[in-house]
Structure formats: C-alpha cells, structure tokens
Symmetry: C2
Subunit: 466 residues, 2 copies
C-alpha cells in the first residue's frame, strides 16, 4: 500500500471534503423529533449518494420501522480481511436554541483556544456526522488511488440518538451481508489533540421517563395545599432518595453485578493526564461532586450513575401561578458498567420507584431505550492496528481509556455479528456534543481522515502475519 | 329599604347580567403575562364603563406602573356608612390549555352534578370576575330602584394574581378617596350551596423562584455524569429536604411565629361538615397527605405549607436526550398563617435554600410577591351584617371558616386604610379556580346578587343601632 499517494489525494481534496461535511451538517436530522422525519431521510440519501460516488457498491437506503439504515460495500477479494464501518447520521435535538452562538444547523467555522486552526460549530459536527464522514473520505482516497487494502462495508444508521431500535433487527436479518472481521467506529474522543487515546470501555444505559400523578386535576394551592400530595414535591422527594449522601444509588440490587475494578487497573487509569483545576475552570464549578471513594475519571468510567436529564411540571411561564398540579414528569438515565444489564436495571428502577411513591401519588415508568456496557481487550490485532495507526499520525502512542458515554450497539454487534469493535474516535470532551455550540476541530477531522488508511494498512498486515 | 323592588329588578334583568359577565369573561386579562397587557387594559375599561352605567360617579381607570385600578363611587350622604367593594378583574394564566373542555376564554354554560342549573366555564368565572361583577349588578339594582342605603366605593384592580404590587401605593396615595367603614370582598368560597359560610381567616404567602446552576453549559451526561453535580438532581434534593417525613417544614425558625390554635377553636372548626371520602373521590386520590397531627381542614387553614408550583430543567421534549443541564428552576410558594410575615419567611427561605446547595451548585432566589395572613373577628357589626344577609337568602346561618387561600390585600387594607374586610364569597372549592375548567355556578352568581343588597341593608341598620 502506497500511503504517500493516499495522503497526497487527501491533501489535494481537503477543501471539498470539508464543504461536503458542511452540507450534511445543514440537514437537521433529529431522530427524536418526528417533525424532522423527512430531514432524517434526506440525510440518509445524502450519505448513500456520497458512498456511491466514493466507489461503494450495493449502496442501499434500507427502510425500517423508524429511520433508514444506509449500507454500501467494496469487496475486493473474499480472502482479504473485511472492515465494517459503523456510524450514525442522526443527531440530538438542538434545544436550548437560544444558547447557540451561531444556529445549530448553519455550520460556522471559527478558531477557539483549543482549536486555533478552527472548529466547525454545528449540531452533529462531532457526534457523529463529522466523525463518520472521515471514513467516507478516507475510503474515497484509498479507492481513487487504487490503494484500498481490505474489503470494506459501511453501515450508517439514523437512530443512534434514540436507542438504535431497528438496528438489531436489521443485523439479525442481514448476518451474511454484514459478515466482517472487525467493526470500526469513530464516535468517541481522544484525551487531547496532543494526547491520542483509544476507547476500550463504554458505559451502558437505562433511560426511563416517569410520570407522577397526584390529584386528577390541577388544584389551587391555597385551597388544597398542605392536605393533598403535590406531585412535584413528591417527584423531588423520590428522585432525591435515589442517592444517599455519599452519592451511592439506593435502588436495591443496583450494584449487584457491577464488576470490581482491580487496584492495578485503577492505578493504570490514574496515569492518564487529567487536570482537575482546568476541568473545574472549564465548567465554571467550584468543586466536582460524585460518588465517595472514586476520582473524577473513575466516576465517569468505571462507576454507574443516575442523572435526571429533564424535569417538568406545574406552571413554568412568566410570573407566578399558585397551582398544585396534577402531574409532574422527569426523564432519568442511568449509565451502566460491566456486568450490569440494561433490562434488569430498568426493571429494578421501575419496581423501586413505584415502591417509594408517597401516599396519594401514582407513578408510571416508561422505559425509553437501553444499551449494554462493554469493555474491549487491548491485546487483539484490531486494537493493535488502531494503536499503530494513531501512533503513526500523532507521533505518540495512544492511551487506552474507558469512556463514560454509551454506544449501545457495540454490545449488540458482538452478540449478533460475532465481531469486536474498535473505538477509534477523534473528538474531544470539549466538543460539547448534545449541547449548544457542539463543535469539531478541523485538526481532528483531517487527522481522522489521515489516520484511517493506516488502520486499514496495519490491520491487513497484522492479519497476514497471524 | 324596600327589598322587594330591588329583588324584582334583579329578577327582571338577570339574563342581561349574565350576558354582560360572559362578555367580560371573553377578555383574556392575564396579568402575569405581558403579552396580554392590552387585554388587561380592555378589561379595566369594560369595568369602568359598567360602573358608570350602573350609576357610579368619579369613575376612573387609574394607571399604575403595572395594570390599572378601576375606581368609582356613589356618595349619598357623608353621614351614612360607607362600604368599599374590592375585587379584581385580572385572571390566572389558562395553561395547560389542552385540559380545558371548552376554551378558557370562550365561556360555556353547562349543567354539572354540583350545578344542575348550570355553571359558567371560563378562566376567571369564579376568581374573580363572576364574583366582583355580582357587586356591580347589585349596586345597579339598588340604584335603579332608588334603594341604595349606604355610600359605596368600588376599587377593582388588575394585579391580584401577581401580588397587587401597585395597590399599596395607590391606597397610600388616596387615603381620603378610599376612606370607608368596611371593605366588602367576594373572592372566597362557601362550604356548599346548601351550607353557607363566611371566611374569617386567610393564609398569607411567600412566593419565590429559584434558579440552580451546576456547570456553565449543558453537558453530555455520559462524558460528565457522575462527576459533576447535576442541577436537576440537586434541586430535587434541596426541595425534598425542605420537609421532613412528618410533613414538617425544615427551614430554621419557619414556625417561630405561628400562632397556636386552641383546642377549643380546633374543636369548633371540626364541626364544619367535611366528607373525607367524597374529598378523595373528587380528587381521584387514594389518600390525603400532609403534616402529621392535623386534619385535612386544619392543614388547609391553620397550618402553613410549602408547595412547588412549577419546576423545569433539561430536556423536556419528545423522546430522550442525555443531557446534564446547566440549570434547573422551580417556583415555590409558602402559605403563611398568623403571625408569620411574608418578608421574614422569604428571607428565611432564601438563607436556608442557599445554605443547603451541594458542592458544585450555585443558587439564586428571586422573591415574587408576598402577602400577610389575616384572621377577622366574628363579633363585629360588619360580620353580623354578612351573617344576617346570608341567613336571609340561604335560609340557614353561615358558618365562620378559615380559608386556605391568600388575599394579601386584606392585611394591607387594615394597615393602610384602617378598615376591616368582610369576606363574603359565593364560590365553591369545586370551582377549580387557577385550574383548567374553572367554573362558577349560576346559582352562586345569582345568590350573590340577591344577598349583597341585604348586606347593605343590615349594615346600615346595625350601624344605626350602635
């Protein structure tokens, strides 16, 4: 494989690669919001078209019960190793809109302290349009120069942000089509632009919506206040009771299956660079706050969590209204670690939450989506290929880290397709994905496109050695 | 005073009285919402016009820094006793709109179980348009028949639902204009249509809005969850901690000034008819829930309370979003009893609420409006006049009761104008004021118009006797 010609091609076409990404970022493909169903479809067709023009074959937009899955492949030789690239073209909702410095779906490029060369500000810039699109462009470069060293398959879905509900069925129904040696995913972060890392663990997730009902109608808080359970007060009490004062989650049996991480591994993790003062400064907080007995890095990786992601009830408009409302709601997510499983945790939550409802309060728990935690080994050919590729382009060996986020399909792939995933992402934690002003560094976008062909190269070489 | 001619006049014009009220109810005079500023003004001018046409003089729409105050009077003779009628033409917001069976500002009349003769469904039907309008029509009837026995002054304001911010200044600046022997207010309830009652106590109120800030921007709950204080979780914990498990409020010194109600008075109160099973059935709750050691009637009258009236934060749209938000908010009101005062309680709340913020959380407390609790004696001329008037028209002696709601200006009137108020309301608790489907019985509307002239009659007679 002549890497020079590949890298030259990338260098020559980088302006176009970027403008294509900006086009994709203009499409508000918000999978959670049914009002954007057509936009999600439009994004799928955009991806399919770019796959085709890059040289993929069998390109199809597979319809599902929800949003479509885009597939495309290039099979050189059945004897060669196959890489399945997974990504998602759907994005999180952009709310609260007023906090965006430039509109979420009108990408702007501007320099920041972290990205002196510029960063792309747009919803989905880092999660995951900017990251999966690197793979399309790296593929285009290898195809155009005749240097593609492995078979490649692309599966780019449109429901990652809402739980990948239809991906499991699609994988099960298409096991032959999707047969692969490894799955390559860029939907995670590196520690810093001068400190590459590879994600070797992901937290799973249980996500529920709770509805708490007191009286059957909104009441006047003067007439009934003090005598009738207020669903907002009740919801607050119930949520507050889910953690003790050490930050430990109180749901019975919640920790039963949590794998104890060895002292050695914790000591190893502690070596990753982390600056607590900068962390606090960046977030504008006077102190961190989490489970007693664990460091910040541990709290966001090897320990499960419970966060309220949204709450609402009663009067939330201007001024005051003395209502004792009928209902209050919350969206609550729990991040899970090996070997918790999302279904059991959701059940434990539901049971417990209903059991703690005070007198005069009724509770409904609606599970949203779940996903399983994963930890990937670092002694495999695929990990090594990613390690060598990053070492080559960053000039520095990447550090294996456990991430706090969830990509539920990683566990699914292992189960259904029998293949391991490599989480070679190029984002930064400061990309503020899921938040206003999400952004992705130009450095990171181009570094990804540069690195990916090396992964193909080393992966084929290491597989041949075996 | 020839009461027969007055009552005949009322009987002859009752259809028009109702249609005028329906016109007033069509005006969305929501004082809390600045978008409705012009509607509030329109309602003020409607009231002024009706006062004039009923025979009032010196009618004026007084502008204030907020919404206007409508004044009008009819002075027969300085030697006669003067009655000041207070009411408010502003209404609560109508949200949640989707729960109204007919639109909030399109009044509909329909029969209900409680009101077989029909009830008017509209925002403000009972609170307070339907109630203060009875006074205009009773006045019209007394004027038209030449039977007005006392001097009368009307002061109908437009900021009651937002704390009557400008009424105090108006009263202080117009003490001569407003000079009166008694203040008559219909903005409360009777126990039932066959069980009249007069309100002799009102709770005061402290109302605050709290803003709880964690990180300076919305974060991804996977990347930061577990390590950074989540403002929603924190807000829930802080709110939950405001009451202990006996329903006692935990703010230090909160109860210091609460008047202890004697065993005798509690025994007297317990005689008022109250059907707990019907109460629960009406509200669709399996049990009541409040402060340990007190009955439902006591919890809503002689004891202070703390209710969250609204809460919001994070993602509240369709589907799921794994955000760890920067901010969360709540509107919290406390009902106060003698001799608590709203300013001290608001201060105690603010101090305490800030002191319980967990690590990594900042708190702002914004006071909305407050009002003082009152208890009125039952051995006065004005109370007796109301008692006799109701006894006459209901055929049954009214029961003195303490109400749970707040009409902050009652304490203000006593302080600034040196006059006692009589709370002769005609609503029912089932009118669901402040809630969707607020309604006011036709029986109650007409019974009020019928009763008010008797109050004038007895008040003049009793004053002469003295």
């Amino acid at each position: 494989m002549n890497m020079n010609t590949v890298q030259q091609y990338i260098e020559q076409h980088k302006e176009r690669f970027l403008s294509e990404l900006l086009e994709l970022l203009k499409i508000p493909s918000i999978s959670a919001d049914s009002a954007h169903k057509d936009d999600v479809k439009r994004a799928a067709h955009f991806v399919a078209e770019k796959l085709s023009s890059a040289g993929a074959e069998q390109v199809q937009v597979h319809e599902t019960k929800g949003h479509p899955i885009v597939y495309g492949e290039r099979i050189l030789d059945e004897a060669l190793p196959t890489i399945l690239v997974y990504g998602h073209y759907d994005v999180q909702p952009a709310a609260p809109l007023e906090l965006w410095e430039t509109p979420a779906f009108e990408p702007h490029i501007r320099a920041t302290e972290i990205h002196p060369q510029g960063a792309i500000f747009a919803r989905g810039a880092a999660d995951d349009k900017g990251q999966f699109y690197m793979h399309l462009k790296a593929f285009e470069a290898m195809m155009a120069t005749g240097e593609l060293p492995c078979n490649v398959k692309f599966m780019i879905e449109g429901e990652e942000e809402v739980g990948s509900d239809n991906l499991s069925d699609f994988c099960k129904a298409n096991q032959t089509l999707l047969k692969t040696d490894v799955i390559l995913i860029s939907d995670t972060s590196i520690i810093a632009n001068d400190t590459p890392s590879i994600t070797v663990g992901l937290r799973g997730m249980s996500y529920v919506e709770v509805e708490v009902t007191g009286p059957n109608k909104d009441l006047h808080s003067g007439v009934y206040g003090g005598a009738v359970a207020n669903p907002i007060n009740a919801l607050c009490e119930m949520i507050a009771s889910l953690k003790d004062k050490n930050g430990h989650i109180t749901i019975p049996h919640f920790y039963d299956k949590v794998a104890v991480v060895s002292k050695q591994e914790r000591a190893e993790m502690a070596k990753a660079p982390f600056d607590l003062e900068n962390y606090k400064l960046d977030l504008g907080i006077d102190d961190v706050n989490g489970e007693l007995g664990y460091t910040t890095s541990e709290r966001t990786s090897i320990r499960p969590t419970l966060d309220v992601n949204g709450i609402w009830g009663g009067y939330t408009g201007e001024g005051s209204k003395t209502v004792l409302p009928s209902k209050a709601y919350a969206k609550i997510s729990m991040r899970l670690v090996p070997h918790q499983d999302s279904q059991s945790i959701t059940q434990l939550f539901e049971q417990h939450f209903k059991s703690i409802a005070p007198k005069g309060i009724q509770v409904q728990v609606r599970p949203h989506h779940g996903g399983e935690p994963v930890v990937t080994p670092t002694d495999t050919v695929e990990y090594l290929a990613a390690h060598k590729a990053m070492e080559k382009t960053f000039g520095k060996a990447p550090i294996p880290v456990r991430g706090g986020g969830s990509i539920p399909i990683v566990a699914l792939f292992e189960q259904v397709l029998g293949a391991k995933s490599v989480l070679m992402g190029f984002g930064l934690n400061s990309d503020v994905i899921h938040s206003p002003n999400e952004n992705y560094g130009l450095f990171n976008f181009y570094k990804g496109i540069e690195t990916i062909p090396y992964f193909y190269h080393y992966y084929r070489a290491l597989k041949s050695d075996k």
